[in-house]
């Protein structure tokens, strides 16, 4: 495992903590009926978005999923505009048209959350094609869940990227479930990363709880892509702390399983532990970061909350681009 310097370690911690804080606040707002629709919490999976996006520039691209807040934050989004979107404000990233499942931030290369499982995979592939075609060294990363791996889009995209040697990284967040379906019932193969071989591309399998492991693997994959050596498939094992969506009765899980995993599987607690143990930073410093984040979230929500409601007046004009 590559050694992570202090700045990187703290940045990874900060990103993970921000994601967790965002999800906690979003969940709270949802519970207060201030958020409409559906939200899917990324809590528990923060190490993946943080570890991967640490290698990306603003002009690199990502595609995200229905569980997209984490990727969005890790790619540098503004928290206020994210909250504003959830609250249906004109000041939100999508001016209230998209909501949680469609937040995009093209200024930072985020090509959008996606409500279609597997829908972002070919789109990232196309972004990688752009980089290759225009001769830039940009990279495209697609995040998706274990469930998406059994979509045809996964298959067709990985093959295209392999034969065209595209600068793409495919990141499967294996959080053990696709809604109520446990991953064991969705696959007859033990190691999902094995599928990479069938496309003639390297497959990597990492512990998605350990941000250092994710960071190391993604570093290799992104470097490979940037150097024109082609795509990589990474499977990061993980666990979602919450239900599939806010309000999920989780009939498909036992209390024991949930509690056991939650405790055992917390990338932020883990990161805190090694940062302090390895003397990268003190607990007090981390507490300071936590407080800064809490303040930033409070401010972001306050800002979002005072934004004007999204205007319905020009909806039909938003459909087509004009010259």
């Amino acid at each position: 495992m590559s050694v992570i310097d202090r700045a990187t370690a703290l940045e990874l911690y900060r990103v993970m903590r921000t994601i967790r804080g965002f999800e906690e606040r979003a969940t709270q707002l949802f519970g207060e009926n201030k958020i409409w629709g559906t939200i899917h919490s990324y809590a528990g999976e923060e190490a993946i978005a943080a570890g991967v996006c640490a290698h990306l520039r603003d002009d690199d691209w990502i595609t995200s999923t229905h569980r997209g807040h984490g990727h969005c934050i890790a790619k540098g989004a503004d928290l206020g505009k994210m909250f504003a979107e959830l609250l249906g404000r004109e000041t939100g990233y999508c001016r209230g048209r998209g909501g949680s499942m469609h937040i995009a931030d093209t200024s930072k290369g985020n090509l959008g959350a996606n409500g279609i499982v597997g829908g972002g995979i070919p789109i990232a592939t196309g972004a990688a094609l752009t980089a290759k075609q225009l001769g830039t060294d940009q990279v495209a990363v697609s995040f998706f869940g274990d469930g998406a791996v059994n979509q045809g889009t996964f298959h067709e995209s990985l093959n295209l990227a392999a034969i065209w040697k595209l600068p793409a990284v495919y990141v499967c967040e294996n959080n053990q479930y696709a809604e109520s379906l446990p991953v064991k019932r969705a696959f007859a193969v033990e190691d999902i990363a094995k599928r990479a071989e069938g496309y003639g591309m390297p497959g990597m399998h990492v512990d998605g709880r350990d941000v250092r492991a994710v960071h190391a693997a993604a570093g290799e994959a992104v470097a490979r892509a940037r150097a024109g050596k082609g795509p990589t498939f990474i499977v990061a094992d993980s666990y979602r702390h919450e239900g599939h969506y806010y309000g999920d009765p989780r009939k498909y899980q036992t209390k024991d399983e949930i509690e056991g995993w939650r405790k055992q599987f917390d990338p932020i607690a883990d990161a805190r532990a090694w940062i302090v143990a390895d003397k990268v930073a003190s607990a007090a410093e981390l507490d300071g970061i936590d407080r800064e984040i809490a303040t930033a979230i409070d401010r972001s929500v306050a800002w979002a909350d005072q934004g004007p409601l999204a205007s319905p007046i020009k909806l039909p004009e938003d459909v087509y681009a004009s010259d």
Binding site: G37, G96, G119, G152, A178, L181, Y252, L315
Partner: protein
């Protein structure tokens, strides 16, 4: 013709729309072991809208066959199963995902019988749900009935009440053709009296849900409820609207529609799907073709705006006909 239930059932019970659908599934699965349900999250979770709740315990995991997220694989497997002796009922979680499976629905399920010169039957039901109203935004809120209506070989059902939901689903399962069965996400928690035990509503019969003389509102799915509310408001203003719930879009009960228009001389078609290319165009065009001389005013359509469904609640409502929009349109038509 008016709705004529195949049998007059003895007793009714108040049920939610999703319970009524589950009831039909349960009864048909009991009646015929070839009936199986295939789909995502239909087992322990009971389906995204709780239609299959309880069925896993009753029928076990082979007949309530939960799948990975593989829409075209699932629908294709249902086609193959239907061709070889099962009567599968597929649950596609959102009609918006049909775009992943249209090839199997259209090129295979709908056409196999015809292409094979009559050698095959494809007795399957594709249950799914559409519509806006829950803040699920553009990829989970569409109304796509127009796609299916345009395909030769499919039947197309869109029930608006719990009783119709049960009776039509029963008929769909017993039909030897592929039937697209479109539910609405905001109807699942509506309640109404539902006949107990076997209840069949034949495909191809519209239902006059409210009689009237001043204009005919032809509609389906959730807009039936909106139209009934609108008709009540219109009645207060002395306008008697007749509300025709088409229930099955294919085959279409054109007689009932024409019969109503010949009485009221005014047609308003109301649907949630966007207007351009919506099935309302077909109905308006048919009425214009077949009853031109009976019309006292131009046939009118009230339908969704030409935009994807936006997320925010107030935006969402602004692009889809609401009760007051129907009232307004009806008054314009009559006035």
């Amino acid at each position: 013709m008016q709705a004529t239930e195949a049998r007059a059932p003895a007793a009714t019970r108040e049920m939610f729309y999703n319970e009524a659908l589950g009831d039909a599934l349960r009864l048909e699965m009991q009646r015929d072991e070839r009936v199986i349900v295939i789909g995502e999250d239909i087992a322990e979770h009971g389906g995204a809208f709780q239609v299959t709740a309880g069925l896993l315990d009753k029928f076990g995991p082979t007949r309530i066959r939960q799948t990975p997220i593989s829409e075209i694989g699932i629908v294709g497997a249902a086609v193959g199963a239907a061709l070889t002796g099962l009567r599968p009922v597929v649950e596609l979680m959102y009609v918006d995902f049909a775009g992943l499976a249209m090839d199997q629905i259209v090129n295979q399920a709908a056409q196999n019988r015809f292409m094979f010169g009559g050698q095959a039957r494809v007795p399957m039901v594709l249950r799914t749900q559409g519509g806006s109203g829950r803040g699920n935004a553009a990829q989970h809120s569409k109304s796509l009935e127009a796609w299916f209506a345009h395909i030769a070989g499919l039947k197309l059902v869109m029930p608006s009440t719990p009783a119709d939901a049960k009776g039509l689903l029963t008929a769909a399962i017993r039909d030897d053709n592929p039937v697209i069965f479109l539910e609405h996400k905001l109807l699942y928690r509506t309640k109404g009296p539902v006949p107990e035990g076997e209840h069949v509503v034949p495909l191809g019969q519209a239902d006059v849900k409210r009689a009237g003389t001043d204009l005919t509102i032809v509609t389906w799915s959730r807009e039936v409820l909106f139209s009934l509310d609108a008709a009540a408001k219109l009645a207060d203003e002395g306008i008697a609207a007749e509300v025709v719930d088409v229930r099955t879009l294919v085959p279409l009960d054109l007689e009932t529609i024409l019969g109503s228009v010949r009485k009221t001389h005014r047609l308003l078609v109301v649907h949630e799907a966007i207007k351009r290319g919506g099935y309302g165009a077909e109905i308006a065009a048919l009425v214009a073709e077949e009853a031109f001389d009976d019309l006292d005013a131009a046939p009118k359509r009230l339908a969704g705006l030409e935009t994807p469904i936006p997320y925010a609640q107030h935006l969402e409502k602004s692009v889809v006909p609401q009760v007051d929009d129907i009232v307004r349109a009806a008054k314009e038509l009559v006035g």
